[in-house]
């Protein structure tokens, strides 16, 4: 009956199983991996990617892609950090508004270029990826904002909170995840995003305002990238024009693809993406324990993207869609 649904459910369950298996395997070699301290480390690796992945998921579900989130994170972080440095009198929590606001503006530029000129998102965001990174260098004069300028209240958000000593940023990331879930599954606009990705030609015929929805998803992606920017400052304590956000987009895309979001749009689940991020977090945390150099992280992410695509394809082929796909293929 619900063959497709079952396939989907299998996907999330499958990721969960992979996580458990992976942790058990690593734990067998290095028992330290299975401690609460380690869990804390893993969790601390993930909040930024989790937030970014929520935004990217919406973009990809709408049958687009946003390659510029890393540069948006860098730019938003730099703007906020410079504000802290040169105007320390401003209350630190306003930094959140600044970062998110900057992100929204950058996302709007992306969305406007894509909808106004009907340009492929891939190329536009490839362009803005470089544009925003360059702007980051320019406004900061290629200089890093050091630890002493980042408000300690902000930094402590990554260390602790009154609730079980779990850092605030983890709650924030979980909060964003829950919000995205509510948005994607229980709001009309959210369902329109899925509809748009599922059949972009039918969408206008059904009263979906394609331009507005597309702009919206890119602005959300930007907002979340901006949020991840100030969280970067919180987590690492400094902002650097070349490092902050560098390679972020690849980690996020890896998580999203693992999480079962289809490149063709219309399909994706928040739970799946969450599990994908967790899996990547476990893998990243395991690497230093196993003595694998940090340099190989990129390689692993790349391999992970490819493997996830392979799994995606074999799962799809076994689904009900296979017959129609067989006929549709030339």
């Amino acid at each position: 009956m619900n063959i497709l649904r079952n396939v989907f459910l299998r996907r999330e369950a499958g990721i969960a199983v992979m996580i458990v298996l992976f942790c058990l395997c690593v734990g067998a070699v290095k028992p330290r991996f299975l401690t609460l301290d380690e869990l804390r480390i893993i969790l601390l690796l993930t909040p930024l990617i989790l937030i970014g992945a929520m935004g990217q998921m919406l973009v990809i579900v709408a049958r687009n892609v946003d390659l510029s989130i890393g540069s948006m994170q860098g730019f938003a972080a730099m703007v906020t950090a410079m504000m802290f440095k040169f105007h320390p009198e401003i209350p630190w929590f306003l930094g959140f508004i600044v970062a998110i606001g900057v992100g929204v503006a950058l996302g709007f530029v992306n969305g406007a270029l894509i909808t106004l000129f009907r340009l492929p998102a891939i190329i536009v965001t490839l362009g803005t990826l470089n544009l925003y990174r360059g702007l980051t260098f320019i406004i900061s004069d290629a200089k890093q904002i050091d630890r002493q300028y980042v408000p300690s209240a902000l930094k402590s958000m990554s260390n602790t909170s009154p609730i079980f000593d779990i850092p605030w940023i983890i709650f924030m990331a979980l909060g964003v995840t829950l919000l995205t879930y509510a948005f994607a599954n229980h709001s009309r606009v959210g369902r329109q995003v899925f509809a748009l990705g599922s059949n972009p030609t039918a969408a206008p015929l059904r009263g979906i305002r394609v331009t507005a929805v597309t702009l919206m998803v890119f602005m959300i992606s930007g907002a979340l990238a901006g949020l991840s920017g100030i969280m970067y400052a919180s987590r690492w304590g400094f902002v650097n024009p070349s490092n902050t956000g560098f390679g972020f987009e690849f980690q996020v895309i890896a998580a999203v693809v693992i999480g079962g979001v289809s490149i063709n749009g219309g399909v994706g689940s928040v739970l799946g993406v969450f599990l994908g991020v967790m899996l990547l977090g476990c893998v990243s945390a395991a690497l230093p324990l196993l003595g694998i150099a940090g340099a190989s992280q990129s390689a692993i992410y790349g391999a992970v993207i490819v493997i996830a695509l392979l799994i995606d394809r074999s799962v799809r082929l076994r689904g009900v869609a296979s017959l129609a796909a067989l006929r549709a293929r030339a």
């Binding site: 009956m1 619900n2 063959i3 497709l4 649904r5 599954n185 229980h186 709001s187 009309r188 606009v189 959210g190 369902r191 329109q192 899925f194 509809a195 990705g197 599922s198 059949n199 030609t201 039918a202 969408a203 015929l205 059904r206 009263g207 979906i208 305002r209 219309g266 399909v267 009900v320 869609a321 017959l323 067989l326 006929r327 293929r329 030339a330």
Partner: protein, 511 residues
Amino acid sequence: MTTMAEGAKDTPLIAARGISKSFAGIEVLRDIDLDLARGEIHALLGENGAGKSTFAKIIAGVHRPTRGTLALNGAPVEIPSPIVAQKLGITLIHQEPISFPDLSVAENLVLGRSDGSPLGRVPWAKMTRDAKGLMDLLGVKIDVVKPMRGLSIADQQMVEIARALASDSRLIIMDEPTAPLTPKEVETLFDIARRLRDEGRTIVFISHRLEEVRALCDRVTIFRDGAKVQTDTIGNLTDADIIRLMIGRPLREYMKKLGAAIGEVALKVEGLTLPGVFSDINLEVRTGEIVGLGGLVGAGRTDVARAIFGVAPAASGKVTINGKAVVITEPAQAIDLGLAFVPEDRATAGIFRSLPVEQNITAAAPGKIAPNGFIRRAVERTLATDSVRKLRIRLASLRQPIGELSGGNQQKAILARWLLTDPSVLILDEPTRGIDIGVKAEFYDMIGELAAGGRAILLISSELPELLALCDRVLVMSEGRLTANIPRAEATQEAIMSAAVPRSGREAVAA
């Protein structure tokens, strides 16, 4: 269920006056005056390209008329978009239903309805309940929580109808709805249509299937070549009358086949099987012979053709060409062996839309224009010019993009492409679909000449008159199997139709 009282009792629901429509300078509708009454099932009949679909799309807001006026319940009205049409209570159900395949049935029903702004929560529980209610009302068993992707075409149509009901449509236009349906599904559809009519709604039924029109409709309007020929109650017209009005002359005079000498077996297929699509297909085509392959949409005919040609090979079976057993895994091989395939969907699988006509014509014969790898433009030009002359392709220049040509001329160019490969076996898949009547006649002549010239032709067609007129034998497929092999002398529309319908429904077909 709804109040239909608006305007005087006799006021037609829709009154069209002088509706005309041109596309890029080509007039497809001319001065249509037509009334659609409330509480009737009204058929629009006509050949492909006669204008019936275009007219319906104008009423549904998909196209805007170049001239003419529309009135809804006596009041003048403009219908600039499908969304406006929906608000006015007009729904168009396409032949291939539009849906969001990844969303559930319930969501597809609700999306786009003008109730409530996009902001706001999705009332899942209510949505599911309402959707179930609609399905029950239609008497259809569809799980509303399932994604649309898994549904059959018939079920997707039902969902479209449910959408129309949910938005209280007073005019529901169905565009060739029965092509992909089994007779049982057709009966369900007709029952629903009758019930809707009895409630006071209007149904417009576009088709060229006379028996269905006769079974279902109250009045019928016949279109021919962009003009309205006649509107009448169905009881006042015989089938012969209708055909005469549709085509303009009696059927028999319209198409004639040249006699050709039939020789050896050129194409032989044995036990061809692709699980889930078709099974145990056995057929033979001899040189000089035109073998028809009829059946309903979805019976698997195109799949068989694609399997023979190597586009989507079969899982098992034997293919023999001119006496030699072959295994074909890709079209390039098939071409080398003397096969040619004119696909059904020329827009996607046929033409290179933005490339010059010249290149399109020579695309399948690289050996002729570039024997050493370097393209010889003079040779190409000559070959293309020859083809244009022989097939009477009308164009402004060989260098223009083929997308600028009309459908009929594009199809001629595709045929020219395949003729350049000197095939011994030609598989034609719905070659005259969407083509002007005059050009159709040219095609029939060409097909006849090809056979007379010694080629073996397999003609896949859904147009029964075409099969009857051109073919020496008519094979029929149903649900992936061959169900009939009818010689010309015994071939009738009924014989083909009854072999085409699925076995379960065969008793249900009226005598």
